[in-house]
């Protein structure tokens, strides 16, 4: 049944008119951010992609070499696979330790009667410090003959100096990253724990659930959305690690702590091999994408988006 055309026509014209006006003004408000995004994110991304197919070294002749850079990275470069391995090793170790420490501390803080805010602030303080500054201070602790060596000697721990030993240098980077990074996740998971309705936990303890069961069966599933968010973000940023490596070890000794992020900087700004560095950057992009896709896949099974 058709309604009188004049009324609906006028209404829809008015509604359409307002919709059109609305979307125009929305575009106007978005424009500054959109222009910024285009200029400083999308355009450089495209430029970087184009660069990765060239052999641009700033000076000298530049030409398109197709997939030459990628094949060089994967087959010719003597350190690429070690660097990739270092990056993945760092990410896994840092991610696992970070989540365990921040969830554990969040649980501990949640059960505190007083001082919750104080401890939250104290644990969050390392996040404020610029990562480069913290790394330099930690360097003084790790340096041969420094504080850590003194402590290990006093406690008779038979470890070599960590930062100059190729097998242990990566642990220094992990320690510094953990110190600087766990506060952020602590806050995130602390907030998530607070939002769990106390009735669930009370009901469970009345039914005879132990603390461990309460954590594993109730708390963990209920904070899983925040947990998922924290894990994805931490994984992405730890795959890109650069600051700590630059300030602590410069990728050394040898290539023991060289990560993909540092390799990009090294090949670009020290060897002036910008085309090759861009290709490494895109390989890193693919690695991060694959990891995030895997996590998104796991999310369906492990993350509970209930009330």
């Amino acid at each position: 049944m058709t309604s009188p055309p004049s009324i609906t026509g006028a209404v829809s014209r008015r509604r359409g008119g307002r919709l059109w006006y609305d979307s125009l003004s929305a575009l106007g408000f978005l424009a500054p951010g959109l222009i910024g995004l285009l200029l400083f994110l999308v355009l450089p991304l495209i430029a970087s992609l184009v660069l990765s197919f060239t052999n641009w070294k700033i000076m000298g002749k530049t030409s398109f070499i197709g997939l030459g850079n990628f094949s060089q990275a994967l087959t010719v470069d003597p350190v690429f696979w070690q660097v990739l391995f270092n990056t993945i090793l760092f990410t896994i170790e840092y991610l696992v330790l970070n989540i365990i420490i921040s969830v554990g501390l969040a649980l501990a803080l949640a059960s505190l009667r007083w001082g919750k805010q104080f401890f939250r602030l104290v644990f969050f303080l390392p996040t404020f410090a610029p990562l480069v500054g913290s790394s330099v201070v930690w360097l003084l602790i790790f340096t041969p003959g420094g504080f850590l060596d003194w402590v290990m000697a006093a406690l008779h721990i038979p470890l070599p100096n960590l930062i100059t030993d190729p097998s242990w240098a990566m642990q220094c980077v992990v320690i510094v990253s953990l110190w600087a990074g766990f506060g952020y996740n602590l806050l995130l998971f602390g907030a998530a724990l607070e939002s769990i309705p106390q009735q669930y936990l009370d009901a469970a303890s009345i039914d005879g659930a132990t603390g461990w069961q309460r954590f594993w069966r109730i708390k963990l599933p209920l904070i899983s959305p925040s947990l998922f968010f924290g894990i994805v973000l931490t994984a992405i940023t730890s795959l890109q690690v650069f600051d700590q490596v630059y300030a602590l070890t410069r990728g050394g000794p040898g290539a023991a702590t060289q990560t993909l992020g540092y390799k990009i900087y090294r090949d670009g700004f020290i060897s002036y091999n910008f085309g090759y560095a861009s290709s490494i950057a895109w390989i890193l992009f693919v690695v991060i994408m694959v990891l995030t896709a895997v996590q998104l896949g796991l999310q369906r099974k492990w993350v509970h988006y209930d009330a």
């Binding site: 030409s63 041969p144 040898g254």
Partner: protein
């Protein structure tokens, strides 16, 4: 034939610049008092250095009132990171400061100075020959030198006196050096400070080894490997030099020099350009000596720096005029007496001894001895990479985790990329 998109863009830019140069050339002939501001890129490590360069820049304006110089400075490592980005964004300063070791890498963006020198009858022979060679590429002079210097040994004269060790002098051998270092290593102090590739090249040259073959890096030959192992053993086996974690922006040589200035190390190898910074920050008497003699004698490498004109400069004639003042006798005399430069002009080297080296033990004797055994420091175009590879991999040999030969093989492989 290879047509590249980058080439087209560059060709467009070059033609625009050329057109504007041609247009401007007609003006240059007429206008004699059109003020020109030249940009000058230079590295500085302290306010004292910056003041010294500003003083020299003012000398140019004093002679040519219509030329003003704007100094653009950066710290030493940042300068070499910044320079390629300036090349890429077409923002090279008119006057570019270059170090001899890095000249081959930047040769393509510098204007050859030979024609201007010949046209104006400029006497290039007044400069030391080795540094002229160091600042040339492919037979063309790319920069006029303001300083050069051999690497030599800085020693802490007070430490030597306290431990009753005879001070190093001309003719001292590596055995003398090791003996002195061992005696000076006790409690928290060490006899020597290990450095990076520059000091390594000096050490192996004294041992009679070579590092280049047909212009390419050749560091895996037996003689080099043996001499390198000898050098790194100073840390690992002889334990006369401390193992330091080099990172956070400081290179191995910088860390050694810092420990020397703090009074924790008795000897370091460095160039005369460090004297101005060291003298102002130490509380002891510094002494100079040539590097210890190895199997081939006391051989050391010389490096130096100078100023050139970028290809993209719009004011090449003014820049050439400025260059002649910046490296002229008055500027050299000023810089030498400040201790900032061991003058590249042979006639002005005496001012360094008269002023900068005052209070320094054996300055003239040490320098003269060092200058007797110098070889020009020839480098490959990828020397920045080689330098950094040594910084990255040498600590593995220093801590004894790998042998010198293994480290050299890795560096060789990675530098070939």
């Amino acid at each position: 034939m290879h047509i590249s998109k980058m080439g087209v863009g560059a060709a467009v830019r070059v033609s625009v610049v050329a057109a504007s140069l041609l247009a401007g050339a007609s003006w240059i002939g007429q206008a004699v008092a059109d003020p020109v501001t030249l940009t000058w890129g230079m590295w500085v490590g302290s306010d004292a250095e910056k003041a010294a360069w500003q003083h020299v820049a003012d000398m140019v304006t004093a002679k040519y009132p219509d030329i003003k110089i704007e100094l653009q400075t950066a710290s030493w490592p940042d300068y070499w990171t910044k320079l390629p980005t300036l090349v890429a964004s077409n923002q090279l300063p008119d006057i570019v400061s270059l170090q001899s070791l890095r000249t081959p890498g930047f040769a393509s963006v510098m204007t050859p100075l030979d024609d201007m020198a010949k046209r104006d009858n400029f006497d290039v022979g007044a400069f030391d020959k080795s540094i002229i060679g160091g600042l040339s590429s492919d037979g063309h002079l790319l920069a006029l030198p303001y300083d050069f210097g051999p690497l030599l040994v800085y020693y802490n004269a007070d430490m030597f006196k306290k431990d009753n060790v005879p001070v190093p002098k001309e003719g001292w051998t590596e055995d003398d050096f090791k003996k002195a270092a061992k005696t000076l290593t006790h409690d928290q102090q060490y006899g020597f400070g290990i450095g990076g590739v520059d000091q390594v090249i000096s050490w192996i040259s004294s041992a009679g080894a070579t590092y280049l073959k047909d212009g390419n890096l050749d560091i895996t030959n037996d003689k080099f490997a043996a001499a390198f192992q000898d050098y790194v053993d100073l840390v690992g086996k002889d334990k006369v030099a401390p193992l330091q974690a080099a990172s956070g922006g400081a290179q191995l040589g910088d860390m050694a020099r810092g420990s020397f200035a703090a009074g924790n190390i008795a000897m370091v190898i460095d160039g005369p350009w460090q004297l101005i910074n060291l003298k102002s920050s130490v509380k002891f008497t510094i002494g100079l000596a040539p590097v210890p003699a190895g199997a081939a004698g006391s051989i050391t490498v010389t490096a130096g720096s100078g100023f050139g004109i970028s290809q993209t400069s719009q004011h090449k004639e003014e820049a050439w005029k400025a260059l002649q003042i910046l490296t002229g006798p008055d500027a050299e005399q000023y810089l030498a007496s400040q201790g900032r430069a061991f003058a590249a002009r042979i006639a002005d080297q005496q001012y360094w001894y008269k002023a900068a080296a005052v209070g320094v033990d054996n300055a003239e004797a040490g320098m003269n001895a060092a200058l007797k055994g110098t070889v020009p420091y020839i480098t490959t175009p990828n020397w920045n990479t080689v330098n950094n590879l040594f910084e990255q991999y040498e600590p593995l040999a220093l801590s004894g985790k790998q042998t010198g030969a293994e480290v050299l093989a890795t560096i060789n492989k990675l530098s070939a990329q």
